[in-house]
Symmetry: none
Subunit: 144 residues, 4 copies
């Protein structure tokens, strides 16, 4: 049998709080999703003013980061037509659910991915800032 660790609900709330605080400081209302290590949604918040398509995009960024165990913007940089890494096209996988737009980050503990966060509604760089704030909040909490 395998034994795996995954985020719980209380931790997911903390992570969203961290992202929301950052979004407020940027003045950009965001959609924020937190998933477990299998990519299943644990918590979601659409701040007042968050965009409709960003509901799905934040789900998919979180899923992708948790499953690929990599930031979505890193996959984005590698997904280039004609590149000899032969990765281009991964962005349409799973009906497009595999999302390589910036703003998705894995959440790790003891070197293992235990979940992911995805943020959407701003520019990808803003989305990433908020996702990172969520991760930082978790890491601070986990290191205590």
């Amino acid at each position: 049998m395998l034994t795996v660790n995954r985020l719980n609900q209380a931790e997911a709330k903390l992570i969203i709080e961290g992202a929301v605080d950052k979004a407020k400081s940027l003045g950009v209302p965001m959609c924020i999703s937190v998933v477990d290590e299998s990519g299943s949604l644990i918590a979601f918040e659409r701040m007042d003013g968050g965009k409709i398509h960003s509901i799905t995009l934040s789900h998919d960024k979180a899923f992708t980061a948790a499953s690929a165990r990599k930031a979505t913007h890193e996959v984005n940089q590698a997904c280039v037509p004609g590149h000899d890494n032969h990765l281009f096209g991964i962005h349409t996988a799973m009906g497009g659910r595999f999302c390589i737009v910036g703003g998705g980050l894995p959440i790790t503990f003891d070197g293992k991915v235990i979940g992911g966060i995805g943020v959407s509604s701003g520019a990808p760089a803003q989305d990433l800032d908020c996702a990172q704030a969520g991760v930082d909040t978790f890491n601070q909490f986990a290191s205590q």
Copy 2:
């Protein structure tokens, strides 16, 4: 009437074993799919630690290689925006199920495609190495 050859279950198992051995030697746990000549799944294995999105990606690489009768990384190289081969966009076909990420190979016998293998979880070059190991295992078996 047409008469076609296709992989059977025992051959699919052999092919997966070949790919698994290579994956172990690379130290990368993989998702491995084997399909018949019509692209229908015969066998699948997610090695412990294989990625979640790679379940679907390995299915789709195997399907694409069997159906296109071509390695997915070869389609990848040809799928470039603005190229006068007019192939770009094929990676979104069938809701993205047509997968051009490297790691899918057709399996042939007597010059005819009888199935396909798709591997996913590593870099596409690693995925391809494992897929090739699966093909090699089949070819060795078939030439006996």
Copy 3:
């Protein structure tokens, strides 16, 4: 953090073997899927002669049993139009991926669901027999 147990690849193989043995004794070639506790596919086998639509049906029965933590035929019995349990319609959930046809069973350890098995190609009662044989094989192994 949550800590969860899930089936590993070796256990999934054992479970499939148990189901295959039963299918052979019934003389019905089956499609057999084993998923982890999150419903993600670990292993799949289409016996020679297994039906094409049963690839997806076996995936979906395994997913549903693991996720609902209940046999699919039990959900089937409860899913009746006009019943005051108000359950009818659940069979269309997730684009029909929530499958209530008999032949899906959860796999449990220490009272917790750690995976699921789904079998398809025969009559639902035959599918269920094979799924049960897979579960029995696991339970025998786990009790040693």
Copy 4:
């Protein structure tokens, strides 16, 4: 390796002709699909006046009959809520692609399914009549 027989293009055309003749005699313009033994489309004809949704329905009836190796109206009769065969819900499988509306028939040769026909646009009994005419045409041809 497995060796399977499947309909070829010339046979598919004959089958469609048989169905079209029947449709003309009924005065109902039909959509007619013929698939191979794996459920992949070989030939399709929408008679002038055939219905739009029937394009998909005829595909899906043909797929279902070939894959289930059974007439779709027979599956229809068995798919009843609360029945102790536990089959209800199969009509939503594969996103509803598994179609149990009457008008789909398997096509067999030497006791093996080698394809399927699906007809749609009329009442299911009319669709079935046309599908049967297609099958009869093939059987006559094959017995020569």
